[in-house]
């Protein structure tokens, strides 16, 4: 004999409350199925249905209104011993406010049992209607609302629950609880409940207003939590020493601006890496509109002799722009001393420090930004072409990048 599942006989509910009947049947089902109290975890919700903790000798966790199925999902997938049984209990109000949680647990077929005690109303707050209140019940309650209820049994089945059923007669509760507990995966049982204080007072009436019984099965594998071994994102090894091979004196701020999908971010990252390979301190950050796939794409790179604290770039030394989208950005960022490196299709009239080149034509749509920036950086001696090539070779599309940078370097040597 296993110890009793209930720790006390008296119920915390109003006399005659259907919740008491359901809970006692659940305890009997657990006992008959051979559960020791510490093999089960009761996850309770808010409302009258949430008062069950104190009568169970099992593990208990009492959470928030409507969230018991979500809390139970976490417990189930987090269990150190996955053979423990997780049982969530909530009312029809809880199932209404937290319907998403039921759907998600069913969709994933998480190994747990959810019991919805449906007394067709919010009991604890005085008898208001819930999303599971039936039309027949509402008609008798002077409620001018004939919206049909959610059929959670059908919904859970559709969402992927291994087992879902609705039972009205208390005589059948226990057998169905046993069936639900034996299910591997997500099982839902909605049981019809009396609420003598605000709702249906007699079982005979309950059969008339409750939704009809229904039982649906869906054989599929339950969700499994696989705790993997993973490799570190980075190690703490000493970095390889880098040679000082840049001509910048203190600091250089660069903005690269183009259109989304134009390789602006990866160009900036490559230049930042080349900066590190040249013995410099660097920062790199992207700037894009809310949708990253449309409009402009800009990135800032700071190359510095000294460590960089503040990473903002108030007045860039050079702004590279290769498209119309990027040109608008360049106009907003340029200061009097800024050098503009622009595609020859773009024009900044009356701005003396502008350099033009056929970057789009030579570099292509995705390569123009890198091509233009590499061209200028190498020309000015800010970075050696070797540093850029070395950074490019570490990239997964290294061949195309290497070719592009070499081409940009050639333009310089031809001048």
């Amino acid at each position: 004999m296993t110890p009793p599942i209930l720790s006390r006989k008296d119920m915390p509910f109003c006399p005659g409350c259907g919740h008491g009947i359901a809970v006692k049947n659940l305890a009997k089902a657990l006992e008959e199925a051979g559960y020791d109290p510490l093999d089960a975890i009761i996850v309770s919700d808010i409302g009258c249905a949430g008062l069950v903790d104190s009568i169970f000798a099992t593990h208990t966790i009492h959470g928030l209104h409507g969230r018991a199925p979500a809390l139970a999902l976490g417990v189930s997938l987090g269990l150190i011993d996955p053979d423990k049984k997780v049982i969530a209990i909530q009312g029809d109000g809880g199932a209404t406010i937290g319907l998403q949680h039921l759907l998600e647990a069913a969709r994933r077929n998480v190994d747990m049992t959810l019991i919805v005690l449906n007394n067709l109303l919010y009991g604890m707050t005085g008898g208001q209607m819930s999303g599971l209140s039936t039309q027949a019940f509402k008609a008798g309650h002077l409620i001018e609302d004939d919206t049909p209820p959610f059929d959670v049994v059908q919904l859970m089945h559709e969402a992927g629950a291994a087992f879902s059923c609705r039972i009205t007669a208390p005589g059948e509760f226990k057998a169905h609880f046993i069936e639900a507990l034996a299910t591997s995966g997500f099982s839902l049982i909605e049981v019809a409940c009396l609420c003598p204080s605000h709702g249906v007072k007699k079982l005979k009436e309950l059969a008339d207003v409750a939704m009809g019984d229904l039982k649906l099965a869906y054989e599929r594998a339950p969700a499994r939590a696989e705790y993997r071994e993973t490799a570190p994102l980075f190690g703490l090894e000493k970095p390889v020493a880098t040679a000082n091979r840049s001509t910048i004196k203190e600091r250089l701020g660069l903005v690269i601006a183009g259109s989304a999908g134009g390789g602006v971010q990866s160009a900036a990252r490559l230049i930042a890496n080349a900066g590190i390979l040249s013995g410099l301190h660097v920062t790199m950050k992207g700037e894009y509109p809310i949708t990253v796939g449309a409009g402009f794409s800009a990135a800032e790179v700071i190359l510095s002799r000294k460590p960089i604290h503040y990473t903002g770039l108030e007045s860039p030394d050079v702004v590279v722009a290769v498209t119309e989208d990027g040109m608008a950005k360049a106009r907003s960022r340029k200061k009097e001393h800024t050098t503009l490196v622009l595609d020859s299709k773009l024009r900044e009239e009356a701005f003396p420090n502008a350099i033009y080149g056929d970057f789009q034509k030579e570099g292509g749509k995705q390569g123009a930004a890198l091509y233009a920036a590499a061209f200028w950086l190498v020309r000015e001696g800010v970075l050696e072409i070797e540093a850029l090539l070395e950074a490019a070779r570490k990239h997964k599309h290294s061949e195309a990048l290497v070719e592009l940078i070499e081409k940009a370097g050639t333009v310089n040597s031809e001048r």
Binding site: Q100, L233, R269, L280, I290, E314
Partner: protein
């Protein structure tokens, strides 16, 4: 040196410290955490919304796991009720909050420092949970570790408060200078019999036993409860338990008080900053001193509960300038309220990071 970002550093530190579950819901500018966590966490789950995320995490935590998530204001707002639940149940977990410009959806790709007072007031009843705020990459590493350690040691949700610019900016950085992180071991609870889930020892922290334990019956509760973990209304025992939630953090705060104090002898003026504005403050201090003026700098890293050690430092300075990326000056308000104070000034801004030059303006003769 390598090119690295704050999201990567924080994710790696969390896992090394022993965090084993990441439950995520995508939101800008926290998405890099999501991507790194998918690679690095032993278990990764995608929640359908932020309420579910924190509920699932609470379940994982109650079962003995150490869950982490990252979000931004809109997600945090949805999490507030469950944050209260986790605080009340005393469930260890870490929530990374990446601040972005509000109100409301605001600008998802613009940084900000606008959520400090939301966190200060998030727990009904007013007792805050620990909030750490990294001011640079070293802090990202160390405070991520401390978040896990403090969450476990004091059985509490911990918030790591960052901002877009901290976690989405790449910088050259020497990771070999970072201290090794050892997994925070969860001591097997020293349990006094009969076991009660909320009976605590001298440090005010009840020993943690997970749901599903073979020996002890565990009862966790989000409503006002007694030591047993069952609902109790108004009893002395239940009130003592509620009071203990505040006391356990305040009593132990010395063990998680973090700040950087760069004091200059003879200075009577102090720049106070935190998070993403700190680096501008560091640069400004260098420049102010270069100009021959005396100034000290305090960068606060434990924001909540406000450590007494921070108040002690503030009391030593007649003049203070609070530097933070929001309009009203939230840290200043946290410390001094809304009362007018002579000699307490602010440098505030929204829409982009505060620049060193904007702090210098405050010191121009």
């Amino acid at each position: 040196m390598q090119l690295i970002d704050g999201s990567k550093i924080i994710t790696e530190a969390c896992v090394r410290a022993g965090a084993d579950v990441y439950v995520g819901y995508p939101i800008t500018p926290s998405n890099w955490f999501y991507a790194y966590a998918q690679k690095r966490f032993p278990l990764f789950l995608a929640g359908p919304d932020e309420i579910s995320v924190l509920q699932w995490m609470s379940g994982f935590s109650a079962a003995g796991r150490l869950p982490v998530t990252a979000t931004s204001f809109p997600g945090l707002a949805l999490m507030v009720e469950t944050l209260n639940m986790a605080h009340m149940m005393e469930l260890p977990m870490a929530i990374i909050v990446t601040q972005r410009l509000g109100p409301s959806t605001g600008s998802a790709t613009t940084g900000a420092q606008g959520d400090l007072l939301l966190l200060r007031g998030a727990i009904s009843g007013g007792c805050p949970m620990p909030v750490f705020c990294p001011s640079n990459f070293e802090d990202c590493w160390n405070l991520a570790y401390e978040s896990i350690q403090v969450a476990i040691r004091y059985r509490t949700p911990v918030v790591l408060l960052t901002s877009k610019e901290m976690v989405m900016t790449h910088k050259s950085f020497d990771v070999s200078a970072l201290p090794e992180i050892k997994k925070v071991e969860r001591e097997t609870a020293k349990v006094e019999l009969p076991y009660q889930s909320y009976r605590s020892g001298a440090d005010g922290v009840p020993p943690f036993v997970p749901l599903g334990d073979e020996t002890y019956q565990v009862r966790l509760n989000a409503s006002t409860h007694g030591n047993l973990g069952l609902i109790q209304k108004g009893s002395a025992e239940a009130m003592a338990n509620t009071r203990r939630l505040k006391d356990k953090l305040e009593k132990n705060i010395q063990s998680f008080t973090f700040y950087e104090l760069d004091e200059e002898a003879g200075a009577d003026e102090l720049i106070v900053s935190y998070g993403i504005s700190s680096d501008a403050a560091r640069d400004a201090v260098t420049e102010i001193r270069r100009q021959g003026k005396k100034v000290s700098l305090l960068v606060i890293k434990t924001l909540l509960p406000v450590p007494p050690a921070i108040l002690d430092i503030l009391e030593r300075y007649k003049k203070q300038v609070f530097v933070e990326e929001n309009l009203p000056g939230l840290l200043r308000e946290l410390i001094y309220g809304q009362a007018r104070r002579k000699n307490i000034r602010s440098v505030n801004k929204i829409g982009s990071m505060i620049a060193p030059s904007e702090i210098l303006n405050e010191f121009a003769v």
